[in-house]
């Protein structure tokens, strides 16, 4: 079955430190891949997406993600975290024949002073 896994439920980082959120997918063929962020009490906002081509994708708010086919991963990174980055982060995938996103269970990011 197609699935998206986010191994870390919670992550805590210090403000200014680097961040990496993990995402693994299980699909027959490489899916379209997305990262969304959800601030408390808000809807989801797209950070970035990958379809093909350059495996390093730049997004909004200083985020980037790297697609690694050999590891079936699409990890999200940020070199220096700000307190405003505290939120829930969701990785999602979409098969080439579908329109509905398949979400991971999310990673909650806490940023400490």
């Amino acid at each position: 079955a197609q699935s998206v896994t986010q191994p870390d439920i919670h992550i805590t980082v210090s403000e200014g430190a680097s961040l990496e959120l993990r995402c693994n997918y299980s699909y027959g063929a490489t899916p379209y891949l997305f990262w969304y962020v959800q601030s408390p009490g808000q809807g989801l906002q797209l950070l970035l997406k990958y379809f093909s081509g350059d495996t390093l994708v730049q997004g909004i708010k200083g985020f980037e993600a790297e697609f690694k086919r050999s590891q079936s991963s699409f990890n999200l990174r940020k070199p220096s975290v700000h307190w405003s980055d505290a939120a829930e982060y969701f990785c999602a995938a979409l098969s080439g024949t579908g329109y509905a996103l398949n979400f991971g269970k999310g990673t909650s990011l806490l940023v400490t002073p």
């Binding site: 379209y32 969304y36 808000q42 809807g43 989801l44 906002q45 797209l46 997406k49 379809f51 969701f90 979409l94 098969s95 080439g96 024949t97 579908g98 329109y99 509905a100 996103l101 398949n102 979400f103 991971g104 269970k105 999310g106």
Partner: protein, 114 residues
């Protein structure tokens, strides 16, 4: 204002009552989606629609009904609400440019079934 809106934002109801959650988008997007968000489950697809009068089930459709008579509206009805339907419901929409079209999400409706 342009965008995707949901109403109500908060709703408390009782078991057995019918509840309708509204979703409206101003982009004339072809695709619309309903997801529910629960702790430990992330977001799960309830129903989606590819165009007016075309709807299809998602991962967790039981107990829900949808309709889409107009492109811009996609209401979700709980015909007889149960406590297990207590959740946050998100509506989303996307264009018909292909699977890569960005899905835009509404602000959500928090539903509590007592």
């Amino acid at each position: 204002d342009a965008g995707i809106t949901q109403s109500p934002r908060y709703k408390i109801t009782e078991t057995g009552r019918q509840v309708t959650l509204m979703c409206h988008q101003t982009w004339s997007h072809s695709y619309m989606f309903w997801y529910r968000q629960d702790l430990g489950h992330g977001l799960r697809l309830i129903y989606y629609s590819a165009a007016a009068d075309i709807t299809d089930k998602g991962e967790v459709p039981d107990g829900y009904v949808v309709s889409r008579s107009k492109t811009e509206n996609f209401p979700l009805t709980l015909e007889s609400a149960t406590r297990s339907q207590t959740s946050v419901y998100f509506c989303a929409s996307s264009g018909a440019g292909g699977p890569g079209d960005t899905q835009y999400f509404g602000p959500g409706t928090r539903l509590t079934v007592l």
